[in-house]
């Protein structure tokens, strides 16, 4: 393939990755920012979202759009509810102690993964996309007699992939509005800034924590529902999003929403472009190297503020 169309294809593929990654990472970042809890089980909430989406789509039947729309609502709610319950029954009992919550969420990771394996099974199952017209993209080339349009092999995307990008952008705007423009967002930010002071002002911090943990997991689940018509639901699918989310959150700045989004776009696009032109392994190497560099030269992340 020629360099121009090749680059465009790589960018389009990268943009889909970036969109999903941004949603997942914002969930992780929110939990870390407000609760100061490192949630190792985040990738499993992502996986659970995809698996529940399959289950809902199966149960609803009929036109694929019906099942998908139902999954879009039900999966994040169930996963968010589960996460909030996990917060109240496990993390709260540990007083959100950093080391112990890491161990507890590792445990949660295995519990969710193995229960999924035992019930849903080991295979990758598809959810049908509500729509998915293949859109071939033309390119111009210089032939005898001037420039002309042509359709290179493989240079295409689907309407569904474009919709994923739009949906992710809309949800991210919604999260921003929730945090910046609503009372509940104000309460969350207050809790983030100073837990003790928030408590003194009568904010029910524990309920805020449960809400934030549920919201973070719900965002991961939503991202998974969006991606599952492109990639299948599988019980091991949580590992990659977890790793990439950590990379994104560290590069963007722990707890910074704009930083997380910018880093997600950066990592998603570079992953797409580097893996198309060189190799997917190199893309992972570069992303990890970037994390190391950020940690050495700008430990608070690109957009982060120095931790108090």
């Amino acid at each position: 393939m020629e360099i121009g169309p090749y680059f465009l294809l790589a960018t389009l593929e990268g943009a889909v990755t970036a969109a999903v990654l941004a949603l997942t990472a914002v969930g992780l970042s929110l939990v870390f920012g407000v609760m100061r809890v490192v949630n190792i089980a985040h990738g499993e909430f992502f996986m659970l979202g995809a698996v529940i989406a399959w289950w809902v789509a199966q149960a609803v039947g009929g036109h694929p759009a019906l099942g998908f729309a139902a999954a879009l609502v039900i999966a994040p709610l169930i996963v968010g509810g589960l996460a909030a319950a996990a917060d109240m029954t496990i993390l709260k009992r540990l007083d959100y102690d950093p080391e112990r919550t890491i161990v507890a969420t590792i445990g949660l990771l295995y519990v969710i993964q193995q229960v999924t394996l035992m019930t849903y099974g080991p295979e990758a199952r598809p959810v049908e996309a509500p729509f998915g017209t293949r859109l071939a993209i033309p390119w111009i080339e210089h032939a005898e007699g001037g420039w002309r349009l042509y359709w290179p092999w493989g240079l295409s995307t689907t309407s569904y992939k474009l919709a994923v990008m739009a949906a992710a952008a809309a949800v991210l705007l919604g999260v921003w509005a929730l945090m910046a423009r609503t009372r509940i967002g104000l309460v969350m930010r207050a809790t983030q800034m100073d837990r003790g002071m928030a408590l003194a002002f009568g904010i029910p911090v524990e309920r805020v924590y449960a809400l934030v943990f549920g919201l973070g997991a719900g965002l991961a689940a939503l991202a998974a529902v969006l991606i599952v018509p492109i990639r299948q639901a599988h019980y091991l699918m949580g590992a990659d999003p977890l790793l990439l989310s950590f990379i994104v959150v560290i590069i963007g700045g722990l707890g910074s929403l704009p930083g997380t989004v910018v880093a997600a776009v950066l990592i998603g696009l570079s992953d797409g472009i580097i893996s198309v032109f060189f190799s997917p392994t190199l893309a992972k190497i570069i992303a990890t190297l970037l994390v190391a560099l950020v940690l050495v030269f700008r430990p608070q992340g690109l957009f982060g503020t120095r931790a108090a």
């Binding site: 294809l9 790589a10 080991p122 598809p126 996309a129 599988h234 990659d240 797409g272």
Partner: protein, 431 residues
């Protein structure tokens, strides 16, 4: 919170001795009913089954398990092996080579298995076989990899139930170059099994006067594939694809999206679609494309009575799905290997009068002495010829075409098409 008794839990020497003495007395006084009346001879033959229950091979593992259990049940119903029942001791290896070697060790030292059996993924075989050789544990693999016949492994590792990649691709290359095209691009998983395809298919195509334009290696745990496809050269006439792992459905779907109906001819190994329904949404573009199948997934018009019997016993319907759940698609192109291997084990143990681990070398010699395996209930995939020197079996290969969303067999090779010169003589190696 309640405080649990906070006395330190001490073990005194006297206490420990008392427990030990009690246990010894208990063991010595075990009633006679706990022993086998015919001493050792009625003890079960224990077959360690290394199964991919988790990891990227899990979908295969589930069906390898069902096939193995069905064959073991039939063997036991027919009186077992040498009058002894067969017991399958299954252990998950996580589709992981390191864990695979540990599992082999557990079979030999903890479970007291007579043999180990059943591994599919070639990196697990290559990781486990050396340990089996050290432990002198006969290790029957069902893997398709060329690593057994290449001489890379050892005298204790045998593949008598499934053919290897080298013979498969060599037998099919003429069909590909003659009917589909001569300019071929290969897409394969980047580990031992995929490398067998890369090396032997390239050589076979070139021997046919064809040309391999590009070879695309994809990590077996990959989940998105479009980014690899731009490397497929435009002049490609045939795209040869083989993929494994949980992403196989995504792989073929993205392949279809990428070409949008204008691409090259597709020739795939059924591995790209094992455990996946051919009529899954997004796979319509596969119509007309060709697949290798070890054993045809859909019951064909010329179905043998052995295939019908095997399907019924394992619980697979005429479309290759589970009889209890039509969405549960089997790994039909591979799993017959477990069934056939168990019958080879039975035949070898009976021929050598196997009584216990001390007879392991004699049992391996009995397998090495085997040659023809006729098409039968024991060998439902078809007739086979075993090569005792290379520890590898040879058999017919099938090529199917997707027509109306079904796989229809269009070509069957002969056994002779799959032969190649021996690369090793394991029988000269000491036990």
């Amino acid at each position: 919170m309640t405080r649990i008794d906070d006395r330190p839990a001490t073990t005194t020497r006297r206490g420990a001795l008392r427990t030990l003495a009690g246990a010894a007395a208990g063991a010595a006084s075990l009633p006679l009913w706990a022993r086998y009346t015919h001493a050792q001879s009625a003890e079960p033959i224990r077959i360690g089954f290394q199964v991919h229950r988790t990891g990227i091979g899990a979908a295969y593992g589930r069906w390898y398990d069902r096939t193995t259990q069905a064959a073991a049940r039939l063997i036991n119903e027919a009186g077992g092996i040498n009058g002894r029942p067969v017991e399958i001791v299954a252990e998950d290896d996580g589709t992981d080579p390191k864990r695979g070697a540990e599992v082999v060790e557990k079979f030999a030292t903890q479970h007291g298995c007579d043999i180990a059996f059943g591994t599919l993924f070639s990196h697990v075989v290559i990781g486990s076989a050396p340990r089996a050789g050290e432990l002198k544990l006969p290790y029957f693999v069902v893997s398709e990899g060329h690593h057994v016949a290449s001489g890379m492994l050892n005298r204790y590792t045998i593949q008598p139930g499934i053919t290897d990649v080298k013979s498969q691709v060599q037998a099919m290359a003429p069909f590909v170059t003659e009917t589909l095209g001569k300019k071929v691009t290969l897409v394969f998983p980047d580990y031992a099994y995929g490398h067998d395809h890369r090396d032997f298919f390239s050589a076979a195509v070139e021997a046919q006067g064809g040309e391999v334009l590009a070879k695309l290696a994809i990590p077996p745990a990959e989940t998105s594939f479009t980014k690899y496809f731009p490397k497929i050269p435009r002049e490609t006439e045939v795209l040869y694809h083989v993929m494994v792992g949980p992403g196989v459905l995504t792989f073929v779907k993205e392949l279809g999206e990428f070409f949008g109906g204008r691409g090259p001819e597709l020739f795939g190994f059924i591995d790209s679609l094992e455990a996946v329904a051919i009529d899954s949404p997004g796979l319509e573009f596969l119509e007309g494309s060709h697949f290798w199948e070890g054993m045809p997934r859909y019951a064909q018009p010329d179905q043998s009575e052995y295939d019908a019997f095997y399907r019924q016993q394992v619980g697979v319907d005429d479309t290759g799905a589970s009889v209890s759940d039509p969405t549960d698609i089997s790994t039909y192109g591979h799993m017959f290997g477990c069934w056939e291997t168990l019958y080879v084990v039975k035949a070898a143990m009976e021929a050598s009068g196997y009584a216990g681990p001390e007879n392991r070398p004699a049992m391996i010699e009995a397998v090495e002495a085997m040659t023809e395996m006729p098409h039968s209930r024991q060998h439902p995939q078809g007739p086979k010829i075993f090569n005792g020197k290379t520890h590898q079996v040879f058999g017919r290969q099938h090529i199917s075409q997707v027509r109306d969303g079904r796989l229809v067999k269009v070509h069957t090779t002969s056994i002779e098409d799959t032969f190649y010169p021996d690369e090793v003589d394991y029988t000269t190696r000491p036990f």
